[in-house]
Symmetry: C2
Subunit: 256 residues, 2 copies
């Protein structure tokens, strides 16, 4: 501030100098690891039910993946501010329909993996950050094995009297929604199917907050439950025969 | 600044007051859409080859998905600064192996979709932002149909004399890497397979920068090429019979 008069500070010239100073302040903060590349990000325990209700409503604005992210980051942005306020949540609408409609990973699961790894950190950031990877991976196993949706919203937009729950045995959107549509007979464009997927996003958000709260309390002690690369020599899901039938190929082995 | 003396500004009291003022400035900027929730993000054209070389090297640090994101955002952070500097790139290591090793969407494709939608914007942000969705979706079709990898790095870590290229007919990690491993006979843990996936990340980053540069020039005029929800009534990829065989189920239709 040396060499700047009070008058300069409240005029255009001062504003420019102040701008330059701000830039220096901000760069310094960032060089120290700043707000985003230092893990874990600050976390305050959230209410799973409230989070799930937000995810359900947000589904109708930004669909599955961004709804899960928004349900958690919007609350943390309010409680904590940055780095959550600087995360471009709405861009993750692209996770919808298994990535832009291609039916690959369920967007709610992609969103959950992103949330866990953004908050707790990438597994390469040190032993304190490995739980992000574990929570993300194990929520895919939970999702594959449980009858979904588990969460019932306070004000459902459809399926008000009852809803069929189905077990996907897969983290893939195409298989998860396909099995539900087959069991229930509703089309992709129906209000019933939309409500089902909004409830799935809410169910995943609920489970994710339970896990994050346990982690915050030092009580999340699970290890990765599904390691196909280690056991089968290839990345993959757990229901090989559903696509391969009985003729499951064996992955090439390392030469001794 | 009224009421603050020059002396106050260069002392602790001044720093506190300045801090409060900064907070007001920043909050105001954010309330207006600020740096991250206003699209498109500033973009300067990048060199596809240089980007691909960065992606190749970054693969060995943060793997496929984060390597694609890092190859583009690290250059834009250097050229432009924020909002790119505030994006937690390394967290996206979780995209590896089709999401934490589950073999779903190829991490390079997930990374490409995220980059396109973070820069250009979510499709709900207005007609100027729809190209993010289109570029992301169409790069999955390109990936599925072309023999990969297309990019040859300057200093490959393996496959130095030759490399087999394979066509996945799918955006899934399990299928893409599985077909390559079958054709070439190398294990997942081999240096040859790692080099192959690093080259795939580099190939996707190269193609993505070509598309982003065309978009920046107003010359990206493609429309979404694969719309399974519209045509088949379910999200999905384009090779139905590869998993279903000839017995492809029909999705429930809307009641008239």
């Amino acid at each position: 501030m040396e060499g700047l008069s009070r008058r300069q500070l409240i005029t255009g010239a001062g504003a420019l100098a102040l701008g330059a100073m701000l830039t220096r302040f901000i760069s310094k903060a960032e060089a120290k690891g700043g707000t985003t590349e230092k893990w874990p990000w600050p976390y305050e325990k959230l209410d799973p039910k409230k989070t799930a209700e937000i995810a359900y409503e947000e589904w109708y604005r930004v669909f599955c993946g961004a709804a899960v992210i928004s349900s958690i980051f919007s609350q943390l942005a309010e409680k904590i501010g940055d780095p959550y306020k600087s995360f471009p949540v709405d861009s993750f609408i692209v996770l919808e329909g298994g990535m832009a409609g291609w039916g690959t990973i369920c967007g709610s699961l992609a969103g959950a993996n992103i949330v866990a790894n953004v908050i707790i950190g990438p597994r390469i950031a040190g032993p304190d950050c490995e739980h992000g990877h574990v929570i993300g991976s194990n929520i895919m196993k939970w999702y594959s094995e449980i009858a979904l949706p588990t969460f019932v919203p306070s004000n459902p937009k459809a399926n008000k009297d009852k809803i069929v729950q189905t077990t996907s045995n897969s983290p893939l959107c195409h298989i998860s929604v396909g099995k539900w549509m087959k069991a229930y007979g509703f089309a992709l464009a129906s209000n019933e199917r939309k409500d089902r997927c909004a409830r799935v996003a809410a169910s995943v958000a609920y489970k994710l907050v339970e896990d994050l709260n346990a982690w915050k309390d030092g009580e999340y002690n699970e290890e990765v439950a599904w390691s196909p690369a280690k056991h089968f020599g290839i990345t993959g899901q757990q229901n090989c025969n559903e696509c391969h039938g009985s003729n499951i190929p064996e992955a090439p082995k390392m030469k001794k």
